[in-house]
Symmetry: C2
Subunit: 128 residues, 2 copies
């Protein structure tokens, strides 16, 4: 096992402030709603209702919370246009765009192995 600083994973085993922050970021990045919203915004600027329609199953409240979290993290920019009724657009920041690339590998993994996981679960549930 590599435990030196050269191994980025080694940070996870340390109980310090950076570890907590990285874990917190990991939890956000890994959320299924974050991944889906980031993906949708990867195609360009969207209004709230457009995102809601593009993400089947997400509640109004969960989408509001997801977008607020992404805005707070500097991953999404929210623009209010001074029209009546006000128009609010959401788009990825440059930081958000770098995340779009990163989550893709994990999504590819999930898509590739979802059937393997199903088989494993059925076998597990049959044993217990």
């Amino acid at each position: 096992m590599t435990t030196g600083e050269s191994d980025p994973m080694s940070v996870l085993g340390r109980r310090d402030e950076v570890t907590c922050r990285v874990r917190d970021v990991l939890d956000r990045v890994g959320s299924k709603w974050t991944v889906t919203v980031i993906h949708e915004l990867g195609s360009g600027s969207r209004r709230f209702t457009e995102i809601k329609n593009a993400v089947p199953g997400i509640s109004q409240r969960m989408l509001t919370e997801t977008l607020r979290g992404l805005e707070r993290d500097g991953l999404v920019e929210r623009t209010v246009h001074p029209v009546v009724p006000p128009r609010v657009d959401y788009e990825l920041t440059s930081l958000g765009r770098t995340l779009l690339e990163s989550v893709r590998t994990v999504l590819d993994w999930a898509l590739e192995h979802v059937d393997d996981i199903d088989v494993a679960r059925k076998a597990y549930d049959g044993r217990t």
Copy 2:
């Protein structure tokens, strides 16, 4: 926007059974505890207490749940050795090893951008 089947991300916008399963897998893969436990087991077989010590901040109950979920998904294998007291080892399956590689890109992203996110949060909290 690419909406064809050739874009793996496009599956996220569909309200069908596969989408739900992939989202479910994504949520598991993205969990900070999953990432940390998978990382620790990446170094080899471990006993429960060894994992607990290597993952600062995880509770007994959360570790039990995390390991049970990983076992059910076929990512971790649990072996009970018939000794007194019983010895229980956990190790990654071959499927679990493929996940180890995939989460690394996301972890690298988190490590690289944790400071950018902090700056963004402070700016956001200062505005609201």
